[in-house]
Symmetry: C3
Subunit: 137 residues, 3 copies
């Protein structure tokens, strides 16, 4: 059996947006007890992230690390049509993920105790981000 649900995530610019609850609701609505849940983000300048969900400093440190590794406005980049964060957003996306598959067990996505699911917006401006949750059971 295959079920899908589309989510729209309205971001307010660079940062992390927790979608764990929405994904769990999509799994519950599918009626699947056991199976596979795949989350897909339809963009190339934002990522999906499985991240520690307890201490918010973890996300802050992730952002610090990636900001230092992939510098906005780096003169290395030719593609800057949409500003200094344009190409860095594509690089950050390639260094992370656009699809993540999580097993479903007992009717829910079987995340680890400390695993939360996030959309990581890499652009500094607000965007509407489209996510599809696919459930195979």
């Amino acid at each position: 059996m295959y079920h899908a649900r589309e989510l729209t995530v309205a971001t307010r610019g660079r940062g992390f947006y927790d979608i764990t609850d929405e994904v769990q609701r999509a799994v519950a609505a599918s009626g699947a007890r056991d199976g596979l849940c795949t989350i897909f983000l339809h963009h190339t300048s934002a990522s999906l992230l499985l991240c520690e969900n307890a201490d918010p400093d973890v996300r802050k440190d992730l952002e610090s690390f990636f900001s230092r590794l992939v510098k906005d406005g780096d003169p290395l980049f030719v593609h800057d049509a949409e500003g200094p964060d344009d190409m860095p957003a594509h690089v950050r996306t390639v260094l992370t993920q656009n699809s993540i598959s999580v097993p479903i067990k007992g009717g829910e996505a079987s995340l680890g105790t400390w695993q939360g699911l996030y959309v990581w917006e890499h652009r500094t401006a607000a965007h509407q981000r489209r996510v599809t949750v696919s459930i195979v059971s």
Copy 2:
């Protein structure tokens, strides 16, 4: 239902090879209207990439960034049996992806407007790269 199709991508050395159309043809041939399409690359020195498909400068900048981050011939690396690009190819692969899952909607892989699917060859020499497209519906 499960369908699979194998693709062979003949690369001409380091660079990006668009496989979007071939993946869409595999989805169409499966007859699936809704489901999950998983692309897998059977190698450890090349990657799969979901990338902006409009401006070719995005791929050039990605290559520039990765060339600077993972330097060919870096004396840090012990493993250089196949030359200065050998170990960097493995590192680039680990930093990116070998499997990507995309939802199928209305009979096609539901990629975002700007998302193309690429094999990213990390070796400087030409290679034959094997890709499997798996369709669950």
Copy 3:
């Protein structure tokens, strides 16, 4: 059809732990001839890795590269509750993978000739790591 098997990997601290054989046994036990095998790691400070399995220097070089890229005890990091390797373990996880999907062909996970599947422990201390192998056929 959906089958799942849970594995526990007892790590002895930072390093690579080959789970290829255990994944192949899970596939064989499912009875699936053709399908999709998805491996998921339920943690945020260890990764799954598809890596060259012939020369152990490849894994050593990967560790050297990541140790240099994401320095233990980097003063950039605020989150260090569990020591200097705490936040670097989260960053390394985000730069790599927690879920990998491999096609099943002829009753086994169709890995490339040189592809092995590893749990990469990023913490310096020993941990019990939970992995789920999901099989859709």
